[in-house]
């Protein structure tokens, strides 16, 4: 499958996704420059993590105005699979492809560590290889992952099974202590109604190889391969 990895000025996990997709999963991967006006035949689009536009103003706010985002929105509307990881998730929120917004982490600090997660909701293009309740660990690395939306939106996301990843403790409970950033209802990842657009704060591309101590992230990429 051909993966297009969008490179915004300030993206810095673009090479990592490329490595995971190409060298670990053996798929075709190419970078798509943010000024580009087509997706170069991509069958899967990934918005990688990093600090697009330095995270200035608000995370993801400036990136969503990049020329390539029109194409990404059109691709998503056609049902094409789009995964936003970390800053990519923030961009999807700003672009309106997913509901809600991000606030500063509750502790106000950048947090980089591996956290406990559990799969939830219904199957999406990026979580079909996970079953609700599956637990695993993935790294997070962000200062603004404190997901927020109004109560009605949160209820709707949950009701429609669109909360796909939650922070939890080792027993699988979604608790305040297990929540690294204050995110509403322990939300770590959500999907759109059709399940083709997914945003998540954890970095699956950092956990695809045993040498890195964890390969749980592979299942996210394998899901989209079908």
């Amino acid at each position: 499958m051909r993966f297009g990895i969008v490179v915004f000025p300030g993206s810095n996990c673009d090479h990592d996704v490329y490595h995971a997709v190409k060298h670990v999963l053996g798929q075709e991967a190419r970078f798509v420059w943010h000024k580009s006006t087509d997706l170069d035949g991509s069958e899967v689009v990934i918005l990688p993590g990093g600090f697009s536009y330095g995270d200035y103003l608000r995370t993801g706010a400036l990136a969503r105005h990049s020329p390539v985002m029109q194409e990404v929105v059109a691709f998503a509307k056609r049902g094409g699979p789009v995964l936003g990881i970390c800053n990519g998730f923030q961009i999807l929120l700003e672009a309106g492809l997913l509901p809600g917004a991000m606030l500063r982490n509750r502790g106000l600090r950048f947090v980089c560590e591996e956290v406990e997660l559990k799969a939830d909701g219904r199957a999406t293009r990026f979580t079909s290889k996970l079953s609700p309740g599956d637990r695993f660990r993935l790294p997070i690395a962000h200062a603004e992952g404190n997901y927020t939306a109004d109560g009605a939106t949160l209820d709707r996301l949950e009701g429609e099974g669109r909360v796909v990843l939650r922070y939890c403790d080792v027993a699988g409970r979604v608790t305040d202590e297990a929540n690294p950033n204050g995110s509403a209802r322990g939300i770590a990842g959500i999907a759109n109604e059709q399940g083709n657009v997914v945003g998540m704060m954890p970095h699956p591309e950092r956990a695809c190889e045993p040498i890195l101590g964890n390969d749980a992230g592979r299942r996210i990429f394998e899901s989209v391969l079908g």
């Binding site: 810095n12 600090f51 536009y53 330095g54 995270d55 040498i211």
Partner: protein, 738 residues
Amino acid sequence: MTVPPVLEGAALVERARKAGLTEDELRRIERMLGRTPNTLEIGLFGAMWSEHCSYKSSRHLLKRLPTSGPRVVVGPGENAGIVDIGDGLGVAFKMESHNHPSYLEPYQGAATGVGGILRDVFTMGARPIALMDALRFGRPEHPKTRKLLNGVVAGIAGYGNAIGVPVVGGDVAFDATYDGNILVNVLALGIVETDRIFLGRAEGVGNPILYVGARTGRDGIRGATMASASFGEGSEELRPTVQVGDPFYEKLLLEACLELFKKDAIVGIQDMGAAGLISSSSEMASRSGAGVRLHIDQVPRREEGMTPEECMLSESQERMLLVAARGREREVVELFEKWDLAAAVIGEVTNTGRLDVYEGDTLVATLPARALTDDAPKYDRPQRKPSDLESRWIDIDAPALSDPGQAILAMLARPTIASKRWVYRQFDHMVRVGTVVLPGRGDAAVVRILGTPKAVGIAVGSSARFCALDPKLGSRLTMMACARNLACVGAEPLAVTDCLNFGDPSIPEVSWQLAESIDGIADACRALGIPVVSGNVSLYNDTEGASIQPTPMIGMVGLLDDAERTCDVAFKRAGDRILLLGRLTGELGGSELLASQGRLEGRPPMLDGALELSVQRAVRDMIRAGRLASAHDCSEGGLAVALAESCLAGNVGATVAIESRLAPSALLFSEEPSRVIVSCAPGQLDAVRAIAASHQAPVVDLGAVGGIALEIAGVARLDPDAMREAYEHALPRIAGDE
């Protein structure tokens, strides 16, 4: 446009003094030029002859360091050193201090320190893959410590995280000696193809000189001079000299430069760091022996009304000076414009050996380039051994411990020993998917080199208490501790970078410390068979007459041929055997145990060079042969702390019984060198012993992994929650998070 005035008499001397030049130095300049320099020229000399830029008090001492070796591709003198690691690749690395700016404005000071050292590495053509930070703060209870700690860590995170280079490890300690002079030393390491290295040279008469990157403002004017002055009353007034960094801009600059390096469009490049344009242009000119003509009015600016002097001395961040091949300048400018960066031709290479600065058609400064650089004065400062030193070398009687278990917990809670998770959790240490041994897990960081089976190990540190008691021995111990840390992750030391953080060199005791320390580093380099390839000297770390204890910070880089054959400190499985490689002599001089009693006393422990190398070789071979489950060096806090850390990292207990006639305090807390605690599956025991024997490394049986508590037979039993409580909460408390 007019030529800057030439002053006379007292006004001249005063002007020179303000620029940081002594009257002797002014006279020396007059002799070199055969005339009196104009005011602009005085400013240029002042910056270039500052301690920070000229190394005038340390240069002759640095000559004692071994700098060559079969793997050295680029040694000291360039922006970073480069060492060959095979496969056509090299590692470029350097460590640099940003102590003074970080004290005045911790966030921006530390952030721009990261930006500056990254530029030093990527200017060589290398892609940065790792950062390490070595920090020294004052006492936790000092009123400034909390703010400085928070600001410095946030600044490193703010810059490093945004630019996407992982901070893979570091070293943090607290001591009253740094109350008024914190240390912020950052090491950057990159990978370069050895046939595509770029140097800071201005070559080829007529080649255009380009300015690229951010526009120039009045940031940090006289930063180099400030870094060469002592702190005292009123130094807070130096504030406007603080530079502000923009990691986003630097990320663009990095990517643009790496793209540029793939073409053959440039002949030399150098970042604009301390003393900005004057330093980069005169260094590029004097390295190649060419000359440079600059048109100062062509420099992209962000502020109006800047004088030529301000333009030449500005330390605005995220800027590079480069020499393009003639006719290729258009291409270079277009490439930078693609990345939305400013680029402009501001001069050309000449064959005059001079630095000529024009404003419009007016020649406002004309100086021999070498007068600014190589011909800066060199001072062989008087040295004197501190008179109180030997009186501190008393024999230490092992203190009695009323409750050894409590003593271990107290040691785990010492800020210098306690977990640094609060720090590295704020740094993205995983970006670039290279970090094989994460911070907090290993004695050294291990970063794999994608596209090869190899990895580099990086260790930083400084045993400042040992150096305070005996700078030469302390520096040797520091070097060996770094090498041992590398051995504990399976790496073979390749080369060293250093930051020599010392006080005011005009004080003979400080000069003595510097000289001794350099000798100690040189000795250890020879013993290890490795060179120093880059580094930095930071003097005048003193406040109101009190200099810091000597703190030679060492950054040592090692190679692993197989990234999979590495090791961390965590005990793994119940039943694994625990062994100590090395001896137990119980020396306590200069230990953290004594420091916890407010005592800086004793002789640092003896270093037996042969034993040290045996232990390092043995542990490295064991890891390479895949025999070990864990390896952990015994350093601050001794055996007890090392055992507790291996338990905590592995989330498992251990039962240890040590036959020894030493008093418990000596057994538990001695910081003697040349010791490593290893664990292995029982089935590997014979092989492990055989490897130790083949290197004549002594082995002491300690016990086995298992249970949840750390039990030291007849001494203490420590429950994991108590250990974790002591170990994990010290830093968050200092920072004010708890």
